[in-house]
């Protein structure tokens, strides 16, 4: 049972009532336009807020308050949804019924307390908390290099969308974090609290009316002003393929390719893109898995994934340095087969079954459900997961081929070793 309710001006609750899980969860998300000027501040803010409130002024008292609620977890959630950045808090906790005491109500109050009553010093955030969380954020940004796979994908997107908001990283850049001051962060906090659309997503055993009342009460003191607009700029046509390569002291090369799509999840035809991605490169029935990995043994992984808000497809693979050209050629050959309609009935059938299975299984996953419905709120879509499943059941090969013909290669990135 899914409902969407307006709680306060610009504050919405999506409530998904289910008895299936022992864990309940909610997220409170402030929606911001993704841009260099504020990305780092948005990423920093929840960590500073989580350091302490007026009532629980330090980490230890915060941690103890959460332990009292049977190990409830309250954490920062920063997401990049196309050219929208969301910043806020995510909570998950044991369902009231399993422990015979109230957990949801105090968890909601604690979340509101963190968001609205931070511990202050001289009218702004505590300087030591801000300095330290800046350091932690810088470390998190720099640590992207620890996973070469993630790093290669990040570098591809940065190269591909260097002149678009989408090229801005989810956590911002180290240089931007460094310029943040206690005053600038506090001013930004007051500003976005007032001007951001807020999307709350709850999943658990309580009914929507109870949950709505809990949040409305807890957030009664939220300042509300005129809302900052969010939106996504459409893909521009590709004039020339961008190429970038880098060297690091690694033993495996990473080849990553960025493609632009003709459509996004806001379009009616999105299911065809999901199908195209699966036939081409996602999962063990895909052309990439069966040919690039299984037939040619070029890699341990080579797979494609979609970004549904901006309309981007990424292919990434881990290969021997010497195999970059042959892998690239093979990946593009498989895509050409999709474009020309060289897709067997068996491939369509396997892809459909795989997708249906993944989407139906997602109905059993609280985190995927939360992601999906936050996405709907951003896209302005009322399509439920069950609606998508119905579309996947009927999408045709012709539609799939048409989606493949909307794919354009934009960027090729290669991470190689020092001696390669």
């Amino acid at each position: 049972m899914i409902t969407r309710t307006k709680l306060l001006p610009g504050v919405y609750l999506t409530a998904i009532r289910t008895d299936k899980f022992k864990t309940g969860c909610f997220s409170v998300n402030l929606l911001r336009p993704l841009k260099r000027e504020e990305a780092a501040m948005n990423a920093l803010l929840p960590s500073v807020l989580l350091r302490g409130t007026v009532k629980h002024p330090d980490l230890r008292s915060m941690a103890l308050a959460l332990e009292q609620l049977y190990g409830t977890e309250l954490s920062s959630t920063i997401r990049k949804k196309g050219e929208v950045q969301t910043t806020g808090l995510f909570a998950d906790f044991i369902e009231d019924a399993l422990v015979g005491s109230e957990i949801l109500r105090p968890a909601v109050s604690l979340c509101a307390e963190v968001l609205l009553q931070p511990v202050l010093d001289g009218g702004v955030f505590r300087a030591d908390y801000v300095a330290q969380e800046k350091e932690n954020l810088c470390n998190a940004i720099r640590s992207a290099i620890n996973s070469k796979r993630t790093y290669a994908v990040l570098q591809t997107v940065k190269t591909m969308c260097a002149n678009e908001p989408y090229g801005v990283s989810r956590l911002g850049e180290v240089e931007d974090v460094e310029t943040i001051t206690t005053e600038s962060l506090y001013a930004h906090y007051r500003n976005i609290l007032e001007t951001s659309r807020i999307e709350i997503c709850y999943l658990g055993r309580q009914d929507e009316k109870t949950v709505a009342a809990l949040f409305t009460d807890a957030f009664a003191a939220l300042p509300r002003g005129s809302l900052t607009q969010i939106g996504i700029t459409p893909n521009a046509p590709v004039t020339q393929v961008r190429e970038k390569s880098e060297r690091l002291d690694v033993t495996q090369g990473k080849l990553c390719m960025g493609f632009r799509l003709a459509e996004t999840a806001a379009d009616d035809n999105w299911a065809a893109n999901l199908m195209m991605n699966t036939v081409f490169g996602s999962g063990v029935t895909s052309k990439l898995f069966l040919n690039v990995r299984e037939k040619l043994s070029l890699c341990y992984y080579a797979s494609s994934s979609l970004e549904k808000f901006k309309g981007v497809m990424l292919v990434d693979s881990g290969i021997e340095f010497g195999n970059a050209d042959v892998t690239r050629t093979e990946i593009l050959r498989q895509l050409d087969d999709c474009r020309s309609g060289a897709i067997t009935d068996e491939e369509m059938d396997s892809a459909r079954k795989h997708l249906l299975s993944v989407w139906r299984a997602a109905l059993d996953s609280p985190s995927q459900t939360d992601e999906y419905y936050l996405g709907c709120a951003i896209l302005g879509s009322t399509k439920t997961m069950t609606d998508v499943i119905a579309e996947l059941e009927t999408v045709t090969k012709e539609q799939t081929v048409a989606a493949a013909n909307g794919v354009t290669l934009d960027t090729v990135y290669f991470l190689k070793g020092l001696e390669a």
Binding site: K22, E67, N146, E246, R293, G318, E320, S357, R360
Partner: protein, 428 residues
Amino acid sequence: MKRTDFPKLDERYYEGVTSGGLRVRVVPKPGFSKQYAFVAVDYGAIDTSFLRCGEKVVTPDGIAHYLEHKMFDMPYGDAMNRFAQFGGNPNAFTSYTMTAYYVECTDHFAENLQTLVQFVFTPYFTQKSVDKERGIIGQEIRMYEDSASSRVYENLFRAMYREHPIRVPIAGTVESIAQITPALLETCHRSFYSPKNAMLCVVGDVDPEKVLSLADSALPAWEAEAVTRLYGEKETPSVVQPQIEDAMEIARPMFLAGFKGEALRGRDAMRQEFIGDLAADLMLGASSPLYTELYGKGLIDSGFSAGYEGMKGVSLFSAGGETPDPKAVTERILQEAQRVSRDGFDAELFECLKRSAIGKRVRELDSFETICMRSCECAFDGAEYFEFPELYGSVTQDDVLAFIKTYLQTDRMSLSVITPKPERKDPA
């Protein structure tokens, strides 16, 4: 099948054994869309040396993992394709002690289950296919070699243990897998993949009796062999070397401190795990004074974690994360262990953290994979995972303090550190 209820957890399961000796556990989950079937084999990366019919067999490092990749080969072709026909989403993993194969689906459950049970117990290896896999696994090994979080663990094990095969990476090395042949894979399969040495666990909105009869009819005939595993001499309390260091392309130093525990079995091992976890929560968790201190000094961040794990023949308490100063952090952990041993914990805090730890484990049961993995791990060791609330409840503050006093000692500790490589000019 026999039904057992766990009212505290709001869980129940049905258990039976197929005529071929495969233990089958079904955990019904009404209302869920997906069905999850998991076959675990009590055979992992550490089982490289063993006695078979009185004769010692030594197999190449990484062979359990190689075997996992090759099990999908069937006389009819690739089992992956058969799952694809039925919309099943299969996968597999190899750990130090276990190899597991599983399929998740929302339709055609019977076909997916039967395909799973059939392929795990059907050895079929050709030279061509075994050779072909070498390139794929070679790249997988390279991927781990470039991963600092894998390296920090593997180095720690080498620094801590003298002879135990946990010293070797799960997937082996490019050199060791070069020696793997179809005949060797067959030997390992024959020695360890007996239904009696495995367990099937199914979670979902399914009929338990039907699961048992489907598994029974899918299981090929099998003759069990008597095998004795060889893990070398029993490990002593002391470590091989107190420190091990490596440099990689990472942003900040990464560390993992390990303390050698005592290898236990069955219920004792499970209880010890809870004691170790509670010691970690009380001494190093987010609500501990030391965590606040180290976090406040910028010596740790929210990625810092500590915990306990036990396997066949080894066990350890470990703490790690990213830090500018690994030595300072470990020094403080050792001091705090002494202080806590002396002063003890606040009784109310102890009870609160115990409740919270049980709550977290209850919530973990939302994951079908966790249910299956924990069920099988404990079953292979002769314990019952679902009894964890009672077992946890029996842990006292004295248990935790004794644990800290005994194990969190300098001579039981190794520190593994990965430092960033010095900056260099990029020749590209």
